[in-house]
Amino acid sequence: MTEKSGGEVAIRSSAPAVAGEQGVQLQGGSRDFVTVTIAEQLFGIPVLEVRDVLRPQAMTRVPLAPPEIAGVLNLRGRIVTAIDVRCRLNLPPRDEEQRGMNAVVDYHGEPYALVFDSVGEVLSLPDDAHERTPATLNPRWREVADGIYRLDGRLLVVLEVERLLAFAKTRVAA
């Protein structure tokens, strides 16, 4: 991803760095993730699913919408629905002055912006660093998590976009 116009930012690919850090060229495959953070927690979204990363955007609130809907925004003429991932994960709202970064993903042909506290870099993570989601994790989190990666000193929770956006359905089911 390179610098485009306006609100987009470049993401530095740092895949080799990870491998380097770990010091060993691991056997087997690896997956690339865009890292994002919410409340200091590191998350990863499969890089292929991320279409755009946007700086904080002017957003239009949608009254009567589910609380997870942060609003709608204009991305080069397309109307994108923004999902407040904090709300989705049952976390307290962000500070007023801190405006979230957006990772735009496609879901059933519709663009959605996932609002995080910050967006980091692209990491290539080896498959053998992957762990299943702990059964003891908060159900809300477990619902959207697709396993954990052990990084140096940190843990990265993989977010599954499909399940993250399926809140309308789960709400109905619940």
Partner: protein
């Protein structure tokens, strides 16, 4: 050119191009059944369409080649080059005829019997017609002009001349160049073809040679086909045969192409984006005086508008497309219902957006069907009404402004206001008083309510009450409106008004709680600015905000409330009311501010937001921000929800009431005091409004001349004042020859309610207090007033109590309702009876046990505890009262009840409130008993 013909040409030209390819394909893969099927189908379609359009010449040719193809398909013929060539030749002929058809709009005269003969020969014998036909084929394949020329040149004779002639023919008909070349000057290329062609037929080389020769000189040698071709050629010269120009690419086919609808949609979307971008640019430049961008931007703007318009046009289709099925539907309907119906359609060419067309197709069909079924009377009724036997349904479409107007009119019986009114009351959509107050126009609107059908019988066609509400919903969904005008006996006209296109609309941008919203301009009627101290201000009835607008009360909704947004100061000093129209109803949406109008492109909202009914979509404004588009119908829906809830409650209550006790129609009114008063409707003769000036004062009493007699007017209370001027509402109570008017302040309503007196009253003229329609209501003691108006009211009754001269007759009145007891006691008393009134059967039986006797017993049927029937049975069982006549009183007397009453021992059955009947029956029964 006829549209149908044009379409046919486009389509057939397409099929023919396809056929060319497919036939060649077939030749190479003779065993591919799919190919044969496809070819057969194409030719068959052409034949069918020709027949349909009345193009006999084309049809014949197509038919002949279809025959051949049919045999091939059925395996009776093998695919050979010769056969393929022959079929191709027929295709060429069709092509030639088509191009002439396109030029002249009619089939050229001419004769294809040679070609047809060959095709038939092939079909029948399986043999490809030998050389002469081959030549014939050539002849046919080449333009007739060429063959004419050849024929004309024939006298010149000689092989070479023929060749030359062919060459000339080629020159004259350059379109046919290649074919003619082959025929005349380059016979060699024929070799392989002929060889292939004749292989299946096992033709010897010698024969081949002979054939070859014959082919070359075909025009010369008077072979039958050639000869057959000659006469027409000759006549052709004289003009009877129109020259066929072949090979000219169909102009029409070239002028219109088929484009995938998705592609058009995409194009439209792109144009929409372009419009948005233009708006954005315009907005940026707007403030800047003398910007360098101004002029180019104007051009861009102009081009964009033009582009938008043209792209819109590609999506436009004549509304006739949606009507195509209607004549058939009407015809079938006419047969089914035994009606003579004529469907007139006007303005089929009126164009509208494809998308809109699709959406109104079904509602329109439904409405036309409705008009034919409900609207039009049957033949006898029409004759009786002095109308022509044939009913007319008229469909009309035309443009008006940015809208298309469609009317569906019938000259049938029209909507019966009375029937609808009754139905509306029955269905609980309005109370009797409400329904009575509505204008016919308002009453007619009920047919748009869900589940409303006035058709007495449910037919297979309509009458199930699902329909007009759905029609209206569908039309409103696309921003349209539907209006109805009906005149009883004259017919009904529906007028539908829909926007031409949905993609780009003009919208009013409003502000509410700091956010902006768009309201489609189509639904906006007007804008009103309100302020606390101005003429226009928002008033409250309870918690309901309303606005006085030109002598009308406009219901209001606060957008902030609809959207569940916090408002900082609810009662703002200044607000704007956007008056919108939904169907026939208007209401106001209160917003904090109004900006301008802007052309917006409606984009659907994301699926997760689709459930929010108040938004019809979203869009991007010129300044790049996203804005939600309000759906006025959706907002009206949120209001209706509230209403519906109320209706449901009422229904619930009604059901509850119906199951617990009998209900009486009560007239509610106000007279002397704020609390409502009630009187059984059955007792009231008429409701009048008398001119105050007509009230006369005679002998200290107020009188009015009413229907040729003097009518005393009574007031509820001494304090109750007459109106100063204008008209005074009066309840009129009437007897055969006496009338009395009761002065009231206001007539409130007529309700069905259970009469249950909760508290007896000490006040004269009031029986007691009951809860009616949720309010404490005083029940009028009519007996008191009648007594007051005419001291002799009851004495003048024509029916004297039997044996009145003798000892007073004793009547036992059993009724659980204190109201009736209180009302009937004075009436019967006044009539000279000695009345004992009790509230239950048990009390009555207790009297019996105490040894009291009565001359007659009048009993209510519906009573708590022991009901009237059981009471009667009990009375009859005991020796003491065995002979006492029993009269039943009931407000709901059915035949069944009546019979039942007879069997258990009632002598007669009288409806409550029928004072005269009661007195008469009492008198008679006592007479008989005596």
């Amino acid at each position: 050119m006829d549209e149908l013909l044009q379409e046919f040409l486009t389509e057939t030209n397409e099929s023919i191009s396809l056929l060319d390819v497919e036939l060649v394909n077939l030749e190479q893969n003779p065993d591919n059944p799919g190919l044969i099927d496809n070819i057969f189908r194409l030719v068959h379609t052409i034949k069918g369409t020709c027949g349909f359009l009345g193009l006999p010449r084309l049809e014949k040719v197509a038919h002949a080649s279809e025959n051949v193809l049919g045999k091939v398909r059925d395996g009776e013929l093998t695919v050979s080059a010769g056969a393929v060539s022959l079929v191709l030749a027929s295709i060429d002929q069709i092509k030639a005829i088509l191009s002439s058809l396109e030029a002249n709009e009619k089939e050229p005269k001419g004769d294809d019997s040679v070609l047809i003969g060959q095709l038939n020969h092939l079909a029948e014998t399986g043999e490809v017609p030998a050389p002469p036909p081959r030549a014939g084929v050539e002849d046919q394949a080449a333009p007739e002009k060429a063959s004419q020329k050849v024929a004309a040149d024939k006298p010149a004779g000689g092989k070479k001349t023929a060749k030359k002639a062919s060459g000339k023919a080629v020159a004259k008909a350059p379109e046919a160049e290649s074919d003619a070349d082959e025929a005349g000057e380059a016979p060699e290329p024929f070799d392989p073809e002929l060889g292939r062609e004749l292989l299946p037929g096992e033709v010897s080389l010698a024969e081949l040679d002979a054939i070859f020769e014959a082919t070359e000189v075909a025009p010369e040698i008077a072979s039958p086909p050639a000869a057959a071709a000659a006469p027409p050629a000759a006549t052709g010269k004289s003009g009877a045969e129109e020259p066929l120009e072949r090979g000219v690419e169909s102009a029409i086919a070239n002028q219109s192409i088929r484009v995938n609808v998705t592609l058009l949609e995409n194009l439209m979307t792109m144009v929409s984006e372009l419009v948005l971008t233009r708006n954005q640019l315009l907005q940026m430049v707007r403030g800047e005086e003398g910007s360098a961008f101004t002029v180019p931007l104007q051009r861009l703007s102009h081009c964009t508008s033009e582009l938008q318009e043209n792209v819109m046009k590609t999506r436009m289709q004549p509304i006739g497309n949606a009507w195509a099925k209607l004549p058939r539907i009407i015809r079938d309907l006419g047969l089914e219902l035994g009606k003579k119906i004529q469907l007139d359609m006007h303005g089929q060419d009126t164009e509208l957006d494809r998308q809109v067309l699709e959406l109104i197709k079904d509602p329109l069909t439904h409405m036309v069907r409705n008009s034919a079924d409900h609207g039009l009377e049957n033949t006898e009724a029409r004759r009786a009404a002095g109308k022509s036997e044939t009913g007319h349904v008229r469909l009309n479409a035309f443009h008006e402004g940015g809208h298309i107007i469609i009317t569906v009119a019938d000259d049938g019986k029209g909507l019966s206001t009375e029937v609808i009114r009754r139905k509306a009351v029955e269905k609980g959509l309005a109370t009797e008083a409400e329904a009575a107050a509505l204008t016919p126009q308002q009453v007619q609107q009920f047919i748009f309510r869900a589940g409303f059908s006035t058709a007495a019988n449910v037919t297979s066609v309509s009458g199930r009450g699902v329909g007009m509400d759905v029609v209206r919903t569908n039309i409103e969904k696309i921003g349209g409106t539907i209006e109805l005008r009906s005149e009883e006996g004259r017919g009904t006209t529906f007028t539908i008004k829909i926007p031409l296109t949905l993609a780009i609309v003009s919208a009013l941008i409003v502000e509410c709680s700091g956010e902006r919203y768009a309201i489609p301009q189509l639904s906006v009627v007007e804008l009103v600015r309100t302020a606390a101290n101005s003429e226009m201000q928002i008033e409250q009835i309870q918690d309901t905000p309303v606005l006085r607008l030109r002598n009308r009360l406009l219901p209001l909704v606060f957008l902030s409330k609809v959207l569940d947004m916090a408002t900082l100061e609810e009662r703002k000093r200044e607000a704007f009311v956007v008056v919108v129209q939904v169907g026939s109803a208007q209401f106001g949406i209160v917003v904090d501010g109004v900006f301008d109008t802007e052309e917006i492109v409606v984009k659907p909202v994301a699926p997760v937001l689709r459930d929010i009914s108040v938004f019809g979509g979203n869009t991007i404004l010129g300044d790049g921000s996203v804005i939600m588009i309000l759906d006025v119908n959706g907002i009206a829906g949120t209001m209706e929800d509230v209403q519906m809830e109320k209706e449901l409650d009422e229904e619930e209550e009604e059901r509850h009431r119906a199951t617990t006790d009998e209900r009486t129609s009560l007239l509610l009114f106000r007279a002397g005091g704020k609390e409502p008063k009630a009187v059984p409707l059955g007792l009231v003769a008429r409701l009048e409004e008398l001119a105050v000036e007509s009230i006369e004062h005679v002998d200290g009493r107020e009188m009015v001349q009413y229907r040729g007699a003097l009518m005393p007017l009574l007031r509820m209370r001494a304090g109750a004042a007459l109106r100063e001027s204008g008209r005074q509402p009066v309840l009129v109570f009437s007897d055969a020859n006496r009338t009395m008017g009761l002065v009231v302040d206001e007539i409130l309503d007529i309700v069905e309610a259970e009469l249950k007196v909760e508290m007896a009253s000490e006040i004269d003229g009031i029986v007691g207090t009951a809860v009616i329609a949720g309010k404490a209501t005083e029940l009028l003691d009519l007996g008191y007033y009648l007594q007051k108006a005419f001291g002799d009211w009851f004495n003048t009754s024509r029916e004297k109590p039997f044996g009145a001269a003798d000892a007073t007759r004793r009547v036992l009145l059993v009724d659980d309702s204190p109201f009736f007891r209180n009302m009937l006691t004075p009436i019967l008393g006044a009539a000279g009876y000695n009345v004992t009134a009790v509230g239950s059967a048990d009390e009555a039986l207790a009297l019996r046990n105490r040894g009291l006797t009565f001359d007659i017993i009048v009993s209510d049927i519906e009573m708590p505890g022991m009901n009237g029937f059981d009471f009667a049975a009990e009375v009859r069982r005991s020796p003491d009262w065995q002979a006492v006549p029993l009269i039943a009183l009931s407000s709901h007397a059915t035949q069944h009840d009546f019979e039942h009453g007879r069997t258990v021992g009632f002598s007669d059955y009288i409806a409550k409130f029928d004072r005269d009947a009661l007195l008469t029956v009492l008198s008679h029964t006592l007479g008989e008993a005596a």
